[in-house]
């Protein structure tokens, strides 16, 4: 069975991105606002692709210092030691807590990297107006939105270690400059995912579906 499927935009209807109310604005002047929640109405999020690229490129640039610079500096009787994200994972692995090493590796290394690759892939396919595999791409976007927050893990680990290990005579832990860059990467990729309008994935898809 083939059913005609039509989008709100095709009918000249605006769906409010905040409250979902579907309406047809009557006046053509000025900025359109939603009758119910009075937020600005757009067919598609304005400059979605450009804004998402901007956040994504900024995140990619900061991803380098986030991984190269130390996130944690430990000073103890036995000398100073610095840890990057990766060396923290290696430390967990060699000290025998390998399940935790896997979790941290996943949250701090895999998630940010996959998230940036996935967003770039979504942007490129949308810009090429690809109509292929919209279901899989929609699922990928949902995954990116859901999983992004877990990258904050390392920031919290550094925070707690810094607060607890302040035994002046034995050891002190300080947060390193890498932590700042890493936090910025997490925030920027979250902004990038929010700026992306998933409806763009479906716009090139033919509106016949069976």
């Amino acid at each position: 069975m083939t059913v005609a499927m039509i989008t709100a935009a095709r009918c000249g209807l605006y769906a409010c991105r905040v409250c979902g109310l579907v309406s047809r604005p009557t006046q053509a002047m000025g900025t359109l606002t939603c009758a119910r929640c009075s937020n600005a109405l757009y067919m598609r999020a304005p400059d979605s692709i450009g804004r998402t690229w901007a956040f994504l490129i900024a995140a990619c640039i900061l991803y380098v210092p986030a991984n190269v610079l130390p996130v944690m500096e430990t000073g103890s009787l036995f000398g100073a030691q610095t840890d990057t994200i990766m060396s923290g994972v290696v430390y967990l692995w060699t000290s025998g807590s390998w399940p935790l090493a896997v979790v941290v590796f996943f949250a701090s290394v895999t998630v940010p990297l996959l998230k940036m690759l996935a967003l770039a892939f979504l942007l490129i396919t949308v810009q090429r107006r690809s109509a292929r595999h919209p279901h899989q791409r929609a699922r990928l976007y949902r995954l990116v939105e859901y999983v992004g927050r877990w990258s904050m893990l390392d920031i919290y680990v550094v925070t707690i270690l810094t607060a607890l290990v302040q035994i002046q005579s034995l050891a002190t832990i300080r947060a390193g400059p890498g932590a700042m860059a890493f936090g910025a990467v997490v925030v920027l990729t979250m902004f990038a995912a929010m700026a992306f309008d998933p409806r763009l994935i479906w716009d090139p898809v033919k509106e016949q579906y069976g």
Partner: protein, 203 residues
Amino acid sequence: MTQRSHLIACHECDLLQLKIVLPMGGTARCRRCGASLYRHKPGSVQRGLAYALAGLVLFIIANLFPIVGLAVQGERHDTTLYGAVQALWLQNMEAVAALVSATTMLMPALDLGIMIYVLLALHLGRTPPVLYSLLHALQSVRPWSMVEVFMLGLLVSLVKLMHFATVIPGIALWAFGGFILLLIAAAEALNPRDVWAQLGGVQ
């Protein structure tokens, strides 16, 4: 401005569909992309309110008492959540301190506070004009409230510390764990999209 409050456009793929009356506990899904459009859960306002109020009590405890302590050679060092943020701030890591306090204290507090207000209003059958802005705010605040990630970070750091010191879990640790479960349950009961779908149009 002509409204079409009997229609719904999928927020993920913009497909136009007729709103239907859902059976008890049902979920309306987009027929093209499968996104969840709105749900009908009877009693969710009362349940959400119960979870949110209980969560408030635990949230206060979690912020007032030490989360975890460390004992090394007879010297004991405790920290609260605020203390941890302060330690970062004093090391000139103001940006990271701000990020941590926003995602573990400010945003969860806003999330909880807005939820309690909205749920109380819905429970009393009122729709004050501020409800619209609050629902919008709730949608913006939620992605930034990351208490469950913080909890995992806490566990990772405790395992790291166990190798060279005695770790003493504080009251706030348990309170935090309970708060996370209650916050998730309350958020599950109060989904802004369900409320918007129920509110209908305006005159």
